[in-house]
């Protein structure tokens, strides 16, 4: 797969990666390595210049981008919440887009809010600006899983948090992961985060996958000096 922005070095070149159902894969690399670009190719916020992206076995290029995105959960840094909507409205966005009834989406919003440890009574009617960074991030995760997608994309989901909130959310993530059994593709520049959260890690450098493997494989048999140095940070 290949993706370039204007002239110069393509953001991604010769990129190939598979995520199995129920598996969490981390895209790990320094900034500018193309990991966010790769993520956005999956839900067609960007489209590939060459090669193909398959989601649930279908080529995304042949699908309606809007309908595709409703079937893929998407979590971004600082939550990306709509500031004029309440927590409940934010969480119920995709169910609303899918045409669920008001009662059904409300019930589901409450259900996922409880899953991310936000008591409904206290948080459902708050607006994003009345939340802490960690709470916003939890709402972002709740929103992504509200319509029960088979695949969740996370772009530096815990990047904007302080170390304590970050660790707490990482721990919770491992719980959700076990409960939900979804395929998760997570972008991070933090080696420890990638190793803690992911079943497999893809190390990226300058738009190419340098190595794919379990955290252990990458630690014990790094493919080259770049990976060794990056993994030992």
């Amino acid at each position: 797969m290949r993706k370039a922005f204007g002239a110069g070095r393509p953001a991604l070149d010769g990129f190939s990666l598979e995520v199995a159902a129920g598996e969490t894969v981390a895209l790990l690399g320094p900034s500018g390595c193309g990991k966010t670009t790769a993520l956005k190719l999956v839900n067609r916020l960007l489209s590939a210049d060459a090669g193909e992206v398959r989601v649930f076995g279908l080529d995304v290029a042949s699908e309606d981008a809007v309908l595709l995105r409703r079937r893929i959960g998407y979590v971004i840094q600082e939550g990306g919440l709509l500031p004029h909507w309440t927590v409940e409205e934010n969480v119920a966005t995709v169910p609303r887009l899918l045409g669920w009834s008001v009662e059904r989406r409300r019930a589901r919003a409450h259900e996922v809010l409880s899953m991310v440890n936000l008591p409904v009574a206290e948080f459902a009617s708050r607006r994003p600006r009345e939340l802490s960074g960690g709470q916003r991030q939890r709402v972002g995760v709740a929103r992504a899983i509200a319509a029960d997608p088979g695949l969740v994309l996370m772009d530096e989901p815990f990047g904007a948090l302080d170390p304590i909130a970050r660790r707490a959310l990482q721990k919770e993530f491992l719980n959700w992961k076990g409960q939900l059994g979804k395929a998760v593709l997570i972008v991070t520049h933090d080696v420890r985060e990638a190793f803690r959260l992911a079943d497999r890690v893809a190390v990226l450098r300058a738009g190419r996958v340098v190595q794919v493997g379990t955290p252990r494989e990458i630690e014990e048999t790094p493919a080259d000096d770049f990976v060794r140095e990056f993994a030992s940070e």
Binding site: L45, V66, Y74, L82, H84, V94
Partner: protein, 217 residues
């Protein structure tokens, strides 16, 4: 001062009815200008190539002195002639720029990360516009409407020159008879209208920006 008060009181029915005419002129013009300017402003954010020339043209039109514009309009068929229609056309022209510019700027000021989140969730372009971009830019759009209204209340005094009525009638009559009291009888209510409109629309704007205050960040 007291004498002026008595003078106004004696002419209260005329002042009131002319104030009413004045308000109708401005209201009709603002409703029409918003009906054209807001959709056009949104459209310009979708076609950036057109934004600069259109906003530029609207800016140039704005610089035509209002008395001259009223004059130019009189001989035109359909739009012109003597009476309120000509005045409303001229007011729409002046109201259009602030509404257009603020709508364009307001939509563009929406945080790109928020717009991308809306896309990533699976909103169509239309859903993103109505659910996200318009609500978040509403305070700025309302600001444009407020500025246009205040400007139009002032310019509408010139409407009397083309026989459209309004508070300008008293001002022109005062100038013709060199009667300052008569000029004030037109000018003071017009100023009050402008201040009142500014305050009311400003309050509406603040109410909305409270809801979407993070949009500006």
């Amino acid at each position: 001062m007291r004498e002026l008060g008595t003078y106004f009181w004696e002419r209260r029915s005329e002042i009131l009815s002319l104030t009413g005419e004045h308000l109708v002129l401005v209201l009709v013009a603002i409703v029409l200008a918003a009906a054209v300017g807001v959709p056009l402003g949104v459209l310009l954010t979708r076609t950036p190539r057109l934004a600069r020339p259109v906003l530029g043209l609207a800016g140039v039109v704005q610089t035509v002195p209002s008395l001259a514009l009223f004059g130019f309009l009189i001989p035109l068929p359909l739009l012109g002639g003597i009476g309120p229609r000509t005045a409303i056309v001229a007011l729409v022209v002046y109201a259009l720029l602030p509404i257009l510019r603020n709508t364009h700027a307001g939509i563009r000021s929406v945080d790109p990360a928020i717009s991308e989140a809306a896309d990533g969730l699976g909103m169509t372009a239309r859903q993103r516009l109505w659910w996200v971009e318009i609500p978040l830019s509403l305070p700025v759009v309302l600001g444009g409407i407020r500025i246009a209204t205040v400007v139009c209340i002032g310019i509408a005094t010139i409407a009397a020159a083309v026989g459209a009525g309004g508070l300008g009638v008293l001002i022109y009559r005062g100038i013709a008879t060199v009667d300052n009291r008569l000029i004030l009888a037109g000018a003071l209510p017009a100023a009050c209208l402008a201040v009142g409109a500014d305050a009311i629309l400003g309050a509406v704007e603040r109410r909305w920006s409270g809801v979407s205050s993070e949009a500006a960040r």
